[in-house]
Amino acid sequence: MSSEDKVDVELYDRQIRLWGMSTQKLILKSNVLVVNINGVGTEIMKNLLLSGIGNITVLDEHDIDIDDVNTYYNQFFIYKSNIENLTGKVKRLDIAQTNMKDMNPRCNLTSITSDTKKLLLDKSFLNKFDLVIITEILDNEFLCKVNDVSRELNLPMYITQSYGLSSMIFVDYISRISLSEKFLDIKNDAVQIEREKEMIAKGKFPVKLTKNTELVSKELVNNEEDGNMKLVMRTLNKFISFREMIEKLNTEECISNQFNNRQLRNLKSNTTIPYVLNSLNPKIFSTDEHFNKCKGIELPAVAAIVGAALVQDFISSLNKTKLINNLLLFDAKNDEMPIIEI
């Protein structure tokens, strides 16, 4: 074992104990593109750097105005000591990248501070990455185009948008197989084990589990030593595109069909989650002045929750566990955080 590997194990001890060495190696090998480092982007960068990711490219052409704290109040990769001798406008990423590198010096960090829109439609640029994370872009027509390109390249993508106390994450892994393992006790779960055996013997697969998920295979793995059995299910998850999602949300029956009664009640009577959908679907929910003011605000704490949920989902994608399919909404005002399959 080389000395460098040894430090890795000690440093990442607490997470290797959770997701294992093989996932940790996949994290190290990953190559991720992060677009924009406002509140949520900053949180995403922190979580990616901490997790031990090998390669990150950051794309951000935004300026901050040193003389206007409103343009950088929610940043924690910009330090007072970095800007005390500066005035006027500077590139946000130029200042932040030094402190990002300092958080994980072993990460290959590339910064690009121009041509965001052009690069996001450039296939040869996007092709290098294993994942694209887009934050702080609210132009849905443009996002649809980028998602069309990413789908063509079979490139997984996250899009997140923020509205003050509300926020959303759109997840697109196009199509992927996930594994779920459930441990059954041979003594206590005898009935269930019998039932599963029967079903597996019939072998009527694939079975539709939900609208977008099909069961590909199911097997019982015997582990007599520990007195338990493992039920392994392989499921095929189909994700819908950003464009499709907006189209579906634009039909009234989608709202009533896709959500259960309770969620629907909340969507209609509460105030904040509809705001999120409102931006995707202006026809159904009337706009609200306060909501429009909150559009694009990436509030600390809310941004931290969204940034953490997104990175955690990406790490799950590496070890084949279930993923958010395909919209996560968060409404901090009304304490709702549903996952909705459109």
Binding site: M1, V7, V9, E10, L11, Y12, D13, R14, Q15, I16, R17, L18, M21, E43, K46, N47, L50, S51, G52, V69, N70, Y73, N74, Q75, F76, Y79, K80, S81, D102, M103, G164, L165, E225, N260, N261, R262, K293, C294, I297, L299, P300, A301, V302, A304, I305, G307, A308, A309, V311, Q312, I315, I324, L328, F330, A332, D335, E336, M337, P338, I339
Partner: protein
């Protein structure tokens, strides 16, 4: 003023936030995230208490720390770094403390009372209980948090209004019967517990198990064996501690012969043990080289062969004996980060596993079992810290009642729900049976060094009138002695400070019990004594809780009804299984599907 904050919280809410004073207990995994949030949101004053120093294994999640900070105090390094980005409110005052929060000399009751809210970011039960208890007296909102891997919770608490940390039983570390550990292990963990709690302690440590009360078996022959095994080990200990015995190979050979050969033979002789179990195999020592001095570092993530384990045992035991001898034979303390001790423990546990036909474990796994290591990741900590932050925002900026806040539990990541990323439920009412918050009247009394016991009692009678019981007894909780009752009033005109000898390190408590025989009984009054020089005698409450036998029973009945959350889901069934409430929230997937439709 920051425009975005004003848009969301309004001018008034933002200024309330920028006038609030927070105590943050702990600046580790959750603490770093919490501190960042509070500073970015512009809280006025944040006091951070943490006695821990930074360790390499913290750096995967405690994002305010770098390699260069290892061995420095967490609270100090965390405050120094967030000082660099307090843009929202340049005047945010950060105060770092490196003392133990339970040190009452440093952190007395007046100190605690200066804060608007208390936010816990702790990793241990003892300190959580302590802060919870303090909050019962100062009656300030407490935001409690905790994480373990993908699992986490954030709960708001307020004395008498919501449940407190001790309203539900908390899981305590699992213990194993003595007989399982010493004579009939069947799982890898049994062998690890044997290696750590018995072999390492007896041979190299200085705490010894002398008074075993419960052997976990009635087999007299087996109990006799366990007892004599201990005294036989004593000879080995004498050898290990004798610096004149310089032939280390011999010392190690005798040790291995004793614990892996002779002891096993003697166990095998007890027939009753092996009627239903697979008997152990005696270790074969024919090809063992006791002269080995060094081993190459093997992969700690792979399972080792028996030979590799024996070699590691020999090498690490020699090193540990030398360390013990060179330190005047002072007992070694097991530390999971001490490589020699870890290798000794892992190889001993694995050799024993081989003997008892149990699967062996890697050093990595054994470290986790022996060191009580809890997996921890940045993302769960960020989520939990932020839900706690949002609750404090709602209370301070929006002026929400604590009852309207939600307790948040991870649910998607831990597989308990497919539809909700977090399970957010209404806060529970206090458990009427809770001895910390419900079954006593808790109050703080300001008094000075000359205040007499009589003055204390008269003051309480005057203050609470009929609510205060006629016939009482008073107890000094520092040493559990009665200082006053109906036929013992000798101390009545003595200053209380003389009677109870105020402790310099911990808080002083009085307990007043209602000795009346009437139906309505005043709940025991627990008084935290706040010694001051100037203030007149006073207490921080206006009412005393009472109960009658019947209402007491009714309260219990109400508690056992299932609580319903906002979504009409049953979230808590009182089935007296002693499980913590947050475990009960985690219904399995099937339940969630049925209930949310």
């Amino acid at each position: 003023m920051i425009k975005d904050l004003e848009t969301i919280f309004g001018k008034e809410g933002t200024s309330k936030l920028q006038n609030s004073k927070v105590l943050m207990v702990g600046s580790g995994g959750i603490g770093c995230e919490l501190l960042k949030n509070l500073v970015l949101l512009g809280y006025k004053e944040i006091h951070v208490v943490d006695m821990d120093t930074i360790d390499l294994s913290n750096l995967n999640r405690q994002f305010l720390f770098r390699f260069k900070d290892i061995k420095n105090f967490k609270s100090v390094v965390a405050c120094d770094l967030v000082n660099e980005f307090k843009f929202t409110n340049f005047n945010t005052k950060l105060v770092a403390y490196t003392e133990n929060i339970m040190n009452f000399k440093h952190f007395n009751i007046d100190w605690f009372e200066q804060f608007d809210v208390i936010m816990n970011a702790l990793d241990n039960l003892e300190a959580r209980r302590y802060i919870n208890k303090i909050c019962q007296y100062i009656k300030k909102p407490l935001f409690e948090t905790g994480t373990s891997g993908f699992d986490g919770f954030a709960m708001p608490m307020l004395s008498k209004v919501t449940e407190c940390f001790d309203c539900t039983n908390k899981e305590t570390p699992k213990t194993y019967p003595v007989c399982t550990i010493r004579s009939t292990p069947s799982q890898p963990v049994h062998c690890v517990v044997w290696a750590k709690g018995f072999l390492f302690q007896e041979l190299l440590g200085d705490t010894h198990e002398d008074n075993i009360q419960d052997y976990g078996t009635d087999d007299q022959e087996e109990i006799q064996r366990i007892k004599s095994q201990q005294s036989e080990l004593h000879e080995l200990v004498l050898m290990i501690s004798d610096p004149s015995l310089t032939n280390m190979d011999e010392v190690v050979e005798k040790t291995i012969n004793k614990v892996f050969v002779d002891d096993i033979k003697k166990l095998l002789a007890i027939d009753s043990l092996w009627k239903t179990r697979k008997p152990p195999r005696v270790l074969d020592l024919t090809n063992v080289d006791f002269g080995i001095e060094e081993m190459d570092d093997l992969d700690k993530n792979k399972e080792w062969t028996l030979e590799e384990n024996i070699n590691h045992f020999i090498v690490s035991l020699k090193k540990l004996i030398n360390r013990k001898r060179s330190n005047n034979n002072a007992g070694l303390e097991f530390d999971k980060d001490d490589n020699d001790a870890l290798l000794f423990l892992a190889s001993a546990a694995n050799i024993r596993s081989e003997i008892f036909s149990i699967t062996t474990k890697t050093v990595f796994d054994i470290k986790q079992i022996a060191g009580n290591i809890i997996p921890a990741i940045a993302t769960t900590n960020a989520i939990i810290a932020s839900f706690s932050t949002l609750n404090s925002l709602k209370l301070l900026a929006f002026g929400d009642d604590i009852q309207s806040l939600k307790s948040s539990f991870t649910s998607w990541a831990t597989g308990t729900s497919n539809k909700k990323y977090m399970n957010m439920v209404r806060v529970n009412k206090p458990n009427p049976e809770c001895t910390v918050c419900s079954r006593t009247n808790n109050m703080i009394m300001d008094l000075n060094q000359s205040t007499t016991l009589d003055q204390v009692i008269s003051f309480l009678r005057d203050k609470f009138k009929d609510m205060f019981p006629e016939d009482i007894s008073v107890m000094n909780l520092n040493n559990s002695s009665i200082i006053y009752d109906f036929d013992f009033d000798d101390l009545i005109s003595t200053p209380l400070s003389k009677i109870i000898n105020p402790s310099p390190l911990t808080a002083d408590f009085l307990l007043i019990l209602d000795e009346d025989t009437s139906e309505t009984i005043c709940k025991p009054i627990q008084i935290l004594l706040n010694w001051t020089d100037s203030l007149p005698i006073n207490v921080n409450t206006d009412t005393l809780d009472q109960y009658t036998k019947t209402t007491h029973d009714e309260q219990e009945k109400t508690q056992s009804d299932a609580a319903i959350n906002d979504d009409g889901e049953i979230v808590l069934m009182d089935d007296d299984d002693g499980q913590p409430a947050h475990k009960k929230h985690k219904l399995n997937d099937d339940h969630v599907e049925v209930l949310s439709d």
